[in-house]
Symmetry: C2
Subunit: 107 residues, 2 copies
DNA sequence: TATTGTTTTACCCAATTTTGGCAAATTTAT
DNA sequence: ATAAATTTGCCAAAATTGGGTAAAACAATA
C-alpha cells in the first residue's frame, strides 16, 4: 500500500475528479489538496468519514490506513526499531485491558 | 508493560528520587512531572536521551516504548481496528523501501 | 506557439492544541 | 499535627494545524 496521500490521489483519479473538484466536495482548496496528495500536509482527521463516503469505501478501513500511515511516518522519522509496532500492539492490549476494567480514559 | 508515564514513575522511584529531584535533573517542574507520570501530558521527546542516561537504560528501547505508548493511545482514542499495527508495519516497510531507493524524506 | 485547465510551490494568517510555570489543594508518611 | 510529596487548576506562551491567496510550473491541445 502506498502513502495515504497517494491513496487519496488514486481514488480521486478513479472518480475522474480534478483536485479542484474533489476539494470542493471536502471543502479544501486546491493547493491544500495537492499538498495532501504529496504527503506534505495531513488530511484533516475530522473529514475522514466524508472521504470514505465520497470514495465509497469502508470508513474504518480508511481510518486504519490513515493512522497506519501516520504512525509509520513518525516511526521512520524518529528511527524507531523494527519491532516498534509489536511493542505498540502490546501497549494497545494493555490500554484496552486497563480501560475495560476501570472505564477511565484520560489522555 | 504499563504506560510511559508509569514507566517513568517506576524508574524514578527505583532511583529513590522525588518528583522534584527528578524534575531538577531533566529541567521539568514538579507539577509537570506529576502530569507526565499520570499521562496527562507527554514527556518531551527531545529529552528522551537524557532520560535514558539518568535511568541507565538503552536509549533506543526507551524511545521505542515512548512511541509505542503514543501510538497505542492514539489508536485507542480513535477506535482503530485491532490490526492497525499490522497495517502500520506494512506501511513502515513500504516507506523504508521508498526512501531506501529515492533517499527523499519529506514529511 | 498560444491557450486553457490542472497541479504545485511559496508564503502568510487564524484557530486550536499543547506546554510551562505558579499557587494552592490534596495526599502520604511520620 | 506537621512536613514532604504529589496533584490539580489556572493562565500565558509556544507549537501545531488548518486554511487561504498569488503565482509558477506542467500538461494537453488548438
Amino acid at each position: 500500500m502506498a502513502s495515504f496521500g497517494n491513496y487519496i490521489k488514486t481514488n480521486r483519479e478513479n472518480k475522474g475528479w480534478s483536485q479542484t473538484e474533489f476539494g470542493a466536495k471536502v471543502k479544501i482548496n486546491t493547493p491544500a489538496v495537492s499538498k495532501i496528495e504529496n504527503d506534505r500536509k495531513r488530511f484533516p482527521v475530522a473529514k475522514l468519514e466524508l472521504l470514505a463516503q465520497l470514495f465509497q469505501l469502508d470508513y474504518n478501513q480508511v481510518k486504519d490506513l490513515y493512522f497506519a500511515d501516520k504512525f509509520a511516518k513518525e516511526a521512520y522519522e524518529y528511527n524507531c526499531s523494527d519491532n516498534i509496532f509489536k511493542v505498540a500492539e502490546n501497549q494497545s492490549t494493555y490500554i484496552k485491558a486497563v480501560n475495560a476494567k476501570q472505564g477511565k480514559l484520560k489522555f
